[in-house]
Symmetry: C2
Subunit: 759 residues, 2 copies
């Protein structure tokens, strides 16, 4: 048995000893270095670029500008391709852009013999712009007569979708309903993975190879092909170990540009590594949202109808398009069930800001902040315990929305566990009616989260397993290890099915699109569920092939054979008939029927299921200085069967840390007129350090989800959802002040407290 | 159509531009460097090794000696493993040896920070030996009371095998037979591939990885496992492009030692590269042979019975064991057919010499030299034209020996073509009875050669093909490109079956035993035949899967569909139904049934067939100085269907060059008492340079062999067989002097001519 045990990470030794090879460790020979020229205006047009001085600098190999690149627009989103043009991602950017849409847009690139030379060359390039008024907020873009950032979207709205479940207008006519309305705002934040985007690109036998730190090698392959106008098979992507991604590397970031740069110099190897400052502005950010929620509720706390209006700040380009805010909007009707009607309107709005894309939990941290805030406001108003009001309205087992089904249901148990751990009832009472400068509060938040992207998009994953002559195996996955432990749980799954020890499973961590089976990659908390099922199916197929050969070798009917503890055994008696090693060796080397046993299986996943969780916090707030201290915080998750409890806990720790920053300190700041970034570095951007981080407690409610390969469902992203709203609610409990905007920085608190004459 | 065309090599651009990565180009980070300490005696025992001074040298990381290594003996031959212990290779050496068996045996190794330090350390190591009398010739080893080099072989004979076809003693009683007897000798020669053996070894996640220049990655994996006592799956071999092998790299040379060296220092990366001098002595050499042939022939030229006795000088260790001389001995009854009986006795004898192993054509150049020499002696004596006497006795279509069948037969046509090209009849007459100092002669030689090793050993090969979304493919082979063009013809085969252009086939040239399908590797002229059939089968399976998906996509019965010119077409009408790209894209991305189309197929080959060829030369010999000049030389081959005429011709050129050196100048020389090598470098070892090489002409007789995947059969090794004997026979024609030993150096000629009073 391997699944369910806290086995050691398969990459632990390599990573701890520094042997694991990341992209930068590839050290490809004679690599030239590329640096990108970014615009110093947020909105405008490049009139001309003078590279004459820069070109003369010794060591400069080539300079390309936005006037040189192919006239091809391409999408960057890490979504699987769709054969339906209506479902394809928005192709709205070129490799370098003449039309500048944010402060830092890519307008030229230098290839030089080294980084110093490339950087010096950048300074010698002269750019002449035609400058337009920057639109750094949604309101500016939506203003009547605002300039269109993209021709195809004259009103700067990339997309607006609407849904109505039940009849909203009819529903709100019910007598005696209490109406709540609130507008909530979440900030633009950054993933802050350790490893900044980096790639090597080079030509090889008439094709382009890109070694890159990406979550989605097979998708990047396709996008590089699109951007360069190459057949997708003419592109090869290699993904080594990566130092985090959190959704930022679920976009094709600079792989297409780097491939192009190598291409224009005949396939010589080019290295392109972003600085931390570039990573902040020139890669993706979390969609900042403004969310208006209107709820109609009976005095007893039962929700009757709600209406949500969400505006996402897309920034300059579509990237993941409308899907983030769409997912957020649809979640309104999932975690809570209105008795009569729910309505949603979701807008994606272009602005002259960095591009928002995917970030861990994909819209759900934003909507959950709003939903959970309003839920506590209603509870307070109706004098109902926040837990009681949630239990009255929340999703129940068997619920189905858009083919996503609640197959397994641990939400209520999660709440009960957290409630007990935080000592909810006592503390809710004890912390009531405080008046001193330092006040305490407890708060909580819940959420639901889907597992993968079915049925919105394709869920396909493949796994290949190779049997060695000693009965050990290699596992090849298109799915990617991005630090989350995917390789370890995939190995556990294969070991489980074949009944061999973990040491007999060798997983190939590096993806190489030339030989690695197809998989969309690491996102949407899909891999242990979708790709895990591919492992299960491939392992079963391998087992069947092994037993089929054992039938031939042992001259015994395959129906009577099974694998157990590295042996072929009698299925009925368990008697050992041959070692797996003997059968494996015989398979290759026997002179009658030699066969190289492998299995290569695609899992097309057509199911989806909800994961759940709850966060409980105990905080104290120092009112005069607006400083929140988290005394205790616990996330309790229902992710189905736990594949590896220790890795699961580690996954939750990381997510909680992100949600803590989202709730308390993180936000990207820009000059309100020029759109120039103000804190695009790790000194000024307040990512929580270890000193800012309380002890992160985790607990689980194990359920068994019949749709998952081993009863498991989503856990990758969910931990990043509930801490921020739970803290907000605890602050509400501590002070009676209901904040509508994250993060809850001292500045924001102090201003608010002042306005309320509390200080 | 791709097969049969002279398409450009798929690796041409990479190799010409220097981009193709060979082992040394891997430049693995922080690699330490190992150097080997070789014995300075040829026969004896290491009493003790003092490493105290060497260990103190700054930069020395570790020194291991023959007293440290595991007590495991292992085989080195590049043969597939056999599940029958009687057919396994001889395990007769350790990683480092206390019992020293040739001058240069491996007794210790230094790992240091760089090569200079390692070399300096070697000089500081002090060794004390117990020295025995070296046995540098077969006669010494076979002498009564000779010391046994290996305990298991008290008479120094590794193996003696015997066969008799018909009744020899009865056959020779026929009246009127003429008896011929001759003893022929061929030298110990060296492969002289450009790239000397080199490897990097390092630990990875509890396993050992070796990047190595080898012909046989999967076999080396097994041998490293055996030598280190590791499960074979705990070893990973990566084979980049290699700079030639010619059989020398069909042995596990220093991969096991290098893996061990890395292992003893915790898996740090170690580079081990042999010098040219080491390559001469410490890797393999061609089996030097002494061959006694007795023939009984009728006056009309018909062979009645023959007896062959072959002694191979194995050197110090078994390596490929008895198989080289065995193959040579069995060839006697193949190329020529005795009407009544053929008898063979083959001996493999240990001596205190470098180890003989595989070299291009595996015993056949040696036996062909003897057979073809005696054939001309008989022709001369019986006054029959050499061609006529051969035609009277040579193999005919349908011949079978040990399950090797003559399925296709171009031998006679090869002779006729060569005969015409060289203007045989006129020149045989014109060059008769010359007397001057410079005399001309024409000579010829023929041969047959099996294709692969069936039924002696296992013939198994696998191929995996991956379909890309644009309808292009990757081909993964366990079979290895070693410079011969294998990757190109495999690509042609896949293109042919799938009816796509060569540019749509991407072959993975680097083998990585973790993911590369199993194949024994490059030897025995097997790959285009055995592995080529794996390509064919995999391509057919891929085609079937593509059409199966097209059936689903197009809702048309698969039986009516076919692939043509990158499209799915109506099988009957040829009408285009969809592009291959559309079907391939749909396969992955459709929402109903997503499938990642691949094929992974094993070909267990159970057939073998004979290739043929003839060489014709026109030479002149300067009798007083013993110098032979080749005026014209042509090889005419029957290798079945030509897969790529240009590559085939290149293959023949290379083989002819080797046979030229074998016939004229190459031989490894040793001090007759100490066994110390005398010419282990490319200055003193007379490899023909371009100035020594005449224009090499090639021609082919195309046949179609039904057992080959595309009508093809062996061509890799055969070209290296016939030039040497043809030159010998031309010299016989020119001078009337019948030489029995190669190479035909000026020294040997002058001595002989002097003894005959010709000068």
């Amino acid at each position: 048995m391997s699944v369910g045990l806290s086995v050691k990470r398969v990459d632990a030794f390599e990573k701890v000893t520094g042997r694991a090879r990341y992209t930068d460790d590839y050290h490809l020979d004679h690599a030239l270095v590329a640096k990108i020229m970014h615009s110093t205006i947020a909105n405008g047009l490049v009139k001309q670029i003078d590279i004459s001085e820069a070109s003369k600098l010794p060591g400069v190999v080539k300079i390309v500008t936005c006037f040189d690149v192919p006239d091809i627009t391409y999408p960057t989103a890490g979504h699987p391709w769709s054969v339906d043009p209506d479902h394809q991602d928005v192709a709205d950017r070129k490799l370098l852009n003449t039309r500048v849409r944010y402060y830092g847009d890519d307008i030229a690139a230098v290839i030089a013999k080294d980084e110093v030379t490339a950087s010096r060359a950048l300074k010698l390039i002269k750019v002449e712009y035609e400058e337009y008024e920057p639109m750094v907020a949604i309101d500016a873009s939506l203003k009547d007569g605002a300039q269109a950032l993209h021709e195809a979207y004259p009103d700067n709205i990339l997309n607006h979708t609407h849904y109505e479940k039940g009849n909203y207008e009819e529903a709100i006519k019910e007598e005696g309903l209490i109406r709540f309305e609130g507008e909530y705002k979440t900030p633009m934040v950054k993933h802050c993975h350790i490893e900044t985007p980096i790639s090597y690109a080079y030509g090889e036998a008439g094709r382009m190879v890109v070694v890159s730190s990406t979550q989605i090698p097979h998708i990047v392959r396709r996008i590089v092909g699109q951007a360069l106008g190459l057949g997708w098979g003419k592109v090869r992507i290699i993904k080594p170990y990566i130092g985090g991604g959190f959704g930022n590397k679920q976009d094709a970031l600079y792989e297409p540009l780097n491939a192009y740069l190598s291409q224009v110099i005949g396939g010589r190897c080019v290295k392109l590594e972003l600085t931390r400052e570039e990573t902040f502005v020139n890669t993706r950010v979390r969609n900042a949202m403004r969310i208006k929620l209107i709820s109609y509720i009976r005095p007893n706390g039962r929700l009757v109808a709600r209406k949500a209006e969400l505006f996402a700040n897309k920034g300059a380009y579509a990237s993941h398009g409308h899907s983030v805010v769409s997912k957020a909007g649809h979640a309104v009707k999932q975690i809570y069930h209105d008795e009569k009607a729910t309505m949603g309107d979701m807008y994606s709005v272009f602005t002259n800001m960095p591009v928002s894309g995917a970030m861990r939990a994909y819209g759900i941290p934003q909507i959950t902040f709003a939903l959970e805030a309003q839920m506590d406001e209603m509870a307070e108003k109706l004098k109902i315990d926040p837990i009681a009001i949630r239990k009255m309205n929340m999703m129940q087992e068997g619920f189905v929305d858009n083919q996503i089904k609640c197959n397994s249901y641990g939400l209520e148990a999660c709440i009960d566990k957290g409630k007990e751990t935080i000592d909810w009832d006592n503390k809710r009472k004890a912390y009531a009616n405080q008046t001193g400068p330092v006040r305490r509060g407890v708060g909580m938040a819940i959420f639901s989260y889907a597992t993968g992207v079915y049925p919105i998009a394709l869920e396909t994953a493949s796994c290949r397993i190779v049997l060695n002559q000693d009965g050990t195996i290699q596992v090849q996955m298109g799915a990617t290890e991005i630090g989350q432990g995917a390789d370890t749980v995939f190995s556990q799954m294969a070991a489980e099915i074949l009944d061999i020890p973990m040491s007999h499973v060798h997983i190939i961590s590096t993806q190489d699109t030339d030989v690695t089976p197809y998989d969309s990659g690491a996102y949407a908390s899909r891999q242990s569920y979708v790709s895990g099922m591919a492992v299960k199916k491939a392992a079963i197929e391998l087992r069947d092939k092994i037993l089929e050969h054992a039938e031939f070798m042992l001259k015994l009917p395959v129906g009577n054979l099974d694998l157990a503890h590295c042996h072929v055994v009698n299925k009925q008696t368990g008697d050992v008939l041959a070692s797996l090693e003997e059968v494996a060796t015989h398979a290759v080397y026997n002179m009658e029927k030699s066969v190289h046993i492998t299995a290569d299986v695609t899992n097309h996943c057509k199911s989806n299921t909800f994961s759940f969780g709850a966060c409980f916090v105990d905080i104290e707030v120092d009112v005069p200085i607006g400083k929140i201290k988290v005394n205790k915080v616990i996330n309790v998750h229902d992710c189905g069967k736990l594949l590896n409890p220790q890795l699961a806990a580690a996954q939750v720790h990381g997510g909680m840390s992100m949600s803590l920053g989202f709730g308390l300190s993180e936000q990207m700041l820009f000059h309100e007129k020029t759109g120039k970034p103000l804190n695009n570095n790790l000194l000024d951007y307040k990512l929580p350090t270890i000193l800012d981080t309380p002890k992160l407690e985790t607990d689980f409610v194990e359920t068994y989800d019949v749709s998952g390969p081993f009863g498991n469902k989503a856990l990758g992203e969910p931990p990043a959802i509930p801490v921020a709203p739970a803290i907000r609610n605890a602050l509400f409990h501590a002070t009676g002040v209901s904040f509508h905007e994250a993060p809850l920085t001292p500045q924001r608190l102090v201003e608010k407290f002042k306005s309320l004459n509390m200080i």
